[in-house]
C-alpha cells in the first residue's frame, strides 16, 4: 500500500463527521449520543463534528427501531451520504427492535433496511459505550477491515 493511501486512511480515521438520525427512538439514546458532544465526554477529541447535512457526514449514527414511515427516509439519507460511509446502530432498538416486539409499525432492526458496520447494545447506550464503539470503528477504518 502506498504512502498516500496510508495517509488518506489515517486522515479518515482521525476526522469522522457524524450525522445523527432518529428512526423512532424513545429519545433516550438520542440524548445519550448528544451527551457525547458535551464537556464530560467531548467526542470532538476524535476530530468528530456533528453535521446537519448528510452530504457532509461520514458516519451515520442511527437510534431507535425503524418505523414504517421513516424507513424510506433512512434509505434516502444513507444514499445521500458520499462514499466511504459507515453506519452505527446505537442502542438495542436499532440493533434488533428490542422492546418493541409486537408493535405493528416497526421493523426488526436497522440491518434489515441498510447495511450496518457496528452494533452498540444498551438501553440506552452509555455515552462511554458510544465513544468506545467509535474508537473501535475508527481503528477498523484505519486498517480497512470494515
Amino acid at each position: 500500500m502506498g504512502l498516500v493511501a496510508r495517509l488518506v486512511r489515517k486522515c479518515r480515521a482521525r476526522s469522522p463527521w457524524i450525522l445523527l438520525f432518529d428512526t423512532g427512538a424513545c429519545n433516550a439514546c438520542d440524548i445519550e449520543v448528544a451527551a457525547c458532544l458535551t464537556p464530560r465526554y467531548d467526542v470532538e477529541r476524535f476530530g468528530t463534528l456533528l453535521r446537519g447535512s448528510p452530504r457532509h457526514a461520514d458516519i451515520l449514527v442511527v437510534t431507535g427501531p425503524v418505523t414504517r414511515q421513516s424507513r424510506d427516509r433512512i434509505i434516502r439519507i444513507y444514499e445521500q451520504m458520499p462514499e466511504p460511509k459507515y453506519v452505527v446502530a446505537a442502542g438495542t432498538c436499532a440493533t434488533s427492535g428490542g422492546v418493541y416486539w409486537g408493535c405493528y409499525n416497526t421493523y426488526p432492526g436497522l440491518d434489515s433496511v441498510i447495511p450496518v458496520h457496528a452494533y452498540v447494545s444498551g438501553c440506552p447506550v452509555k455515552p462511554e459505550a458510544v465513544l468506545m464503539a467509535l474508537s473501535i470503528l475508527l481503528e477498523k477504518i484505519e486498517k480497512v477491515e470494515v
Binding site: 428490542g98 416486539w101 447494545s121
Partner: protein, 116 residues
C-alpha cells in the same frame, strides 16, 4: 441589567480550570462513573440454573430463548435484544442470573452479541 458579554468572566475562569473531560477509551478508564448496582450485561451461572423458565416468561424484550443442553433446560441471552431492565435477575429463584458491570457491548457482527 443588560451587559453584552456577561459570560466572558466565567468562560475565562473555565479556561484555567481543569478540564471536565474524561479521556475515556484511551486513558482514565477508572474515572468513569459506574456505581454499585449498575445494570450492565447479564452474567449467567449455569450450575445454579434449574430450568424453571421464569426469566423467559417475564422478559419484556424477548431477549431470552430456552434451549436444551446435556443438563436440561437453560436460557440463552441475546444481548442485542436485551434492554438491561434486570427483571430476569429479579425473578430468578436461585439467583443464577445477575447483572454485571460490562456496558460496552459492541460488536461489528450481530452474532457476537450473545451470552451462552
Amino acid at each position: 441589567m443588560k451587559v453584552p458579554g456577561y459570560f466572558l468572566a466565567e468562560a475565562l475562569r473555565n479556561l484555567f480550570k481543569k478540564r471536565a473531560t474524561i479521556l475515556y477509551p484511551y486513558r482514565e478508564v477508572d474515572k468513569i462513573h459506574l456505581p454499585e448496582g449498575f445494570r450492565g450485561k447479564i452474567e449467567f451461572d449455569r450450575s445454579k440454573c434449574i430450568g424453571c423458565q421464569l426469566c423467559f416468561r417475564v422478559c419484556p424484550a424477548k431477549a431470552i430463548k430456552m434451549i436444551e443442553d446435556e443438563k436440561g433446560k437453560r436460557p440463552v441471552f441475546f444481548i442485542y435484544r436485551c434492554i438491561y431492565c434486570g427483571q430476569c435477575a429479579e425473578v430468578c429463584p436461585t439467583k443464577a442470573i445477575t447483572l454485571g458491570k460490562a456496558f460496552e457491548n459492541i460488536a461489528l457482527r450481530k452474532e457476537d452479541l450473545e451470552v451462552r
